[in-house]
Symmetry: C2
Amino acid sequence: MTEQKSPHDLPDASGLTIGILGGTGDQGKGLALRFAMAGHEVIIGSRKADRAQEAADDLRSVVAGLPVRGAENAAAATAADIVIIAVPWEGHRPTLESLRPELAGKIVVDCVNPLGFEKGKGAFALPVEEGSAAEQAAAVLTDSRVVAAFHHVSAKLLLDPSVESMDLDVLVLGNDREATDLVQALAGRIPGMRGIYGGRLHNAHQVEAFTANLISINRRYKAHAGLRVTDV
Amino acid sequence: MTEQKSPHDLPDASGLTIGILGGTGDQGKGLALRFAMAGHEVIIGSRKADRAQEAADDLRSVVAGLPVRGAENAAAATAADIVIIAVPWEGHRPTLESLRPELAGKIVVDCVNPLGFEKGKGAFALPVEEGSAAEQAAAVLTDSRVVAAFHHVSAKLLLDPSVESMDLDVLVLGNDREATDLVQALAGRIPGMRGIYGGRLHNAHQVEAFTANLISINRRYKAHAGLRVTDV
């Protein structure tokens, strides 16, 4: 029964400083807001420090006194205990390649969804040579501990401070049990969210790609859909 | 708002006769049991009529008087209003190719998950030339209306008559709105299940592949996990 782990047996993730690269986009900014609201020190990273600081100032205008600041990506990575990658797919590989030293030894949480859009077809999964964005991150960041998570969070709900609780489970994938446990615990820091182990990195592709289905679901039902895992 | 459709606005699926090809396997047999329990006439299809009849007899020994019988695949397809494909992935393409005339004009519901298993790696998605099992079905069955659904149902729970209600949403994918609506309604005939539109067929791959993640989740949590879609 050593494999069994209920969501309640997770390590303590409070006190972690979180860097969010690509934190000026909606998904990154939304996560920054929620982690800062949960009391984490958050550093929004961007290619340009002033754009990162602008995003942080935006969030501090939503909730005064939030522990969030902006920095250039490299500085954000260096200062953080755990780093979330929320850059657009186009910038994924070059961003990671440029930050290998700063990300070495750290837990890196990839939440990038490689998706395309076409009129009449909607969203669809793009092919990724390595299999998935997360596997690409693992291939580039050989000295980091790569975990995949936070693919399905609705940026709109995250960024709406009137939404007190997020109604979804965050699927956390990775090959390093200690790292996935910590990221599961981190997901649980946001009210309503639960971090659920979702498999190893070789099964990350379909979790990333499923975001295209959520976009279809949202369109059909005028919803901000998330997933819950039953019987867990 | 014409796009909006709540799960309550669906057509009436009661009275449909259901053929289940590959219905001697656990997934097909489990669906046969549940649809028959819901009052549908069910025909289990198999390559050999006597194996199909055996499976039907099995189910009638679980619940006496169930409206389920067995037949050769072609006869099951012909007699049914709607046909579920639950064959093993290896037999998927040849089975469909051999039944093109019998399946013409019908709604064909593909619930096949193309998965591989390796020691130490667990379950993983197999590459499919057409993109997914459902797209392969659509490519072979050009005169049928192909829908993808029922990928994530737990055969074990379906086959356990002490389980009164299934705690999961069935993602229903397809390019034909009338067909997906009917299959959503059909999913709703099983207590606890809800049929939720999940996108077009080009997004079926990740839904099929996600079954590998559910296998990992089940292993980690000693569960029979399913998915629920929130905010719908």
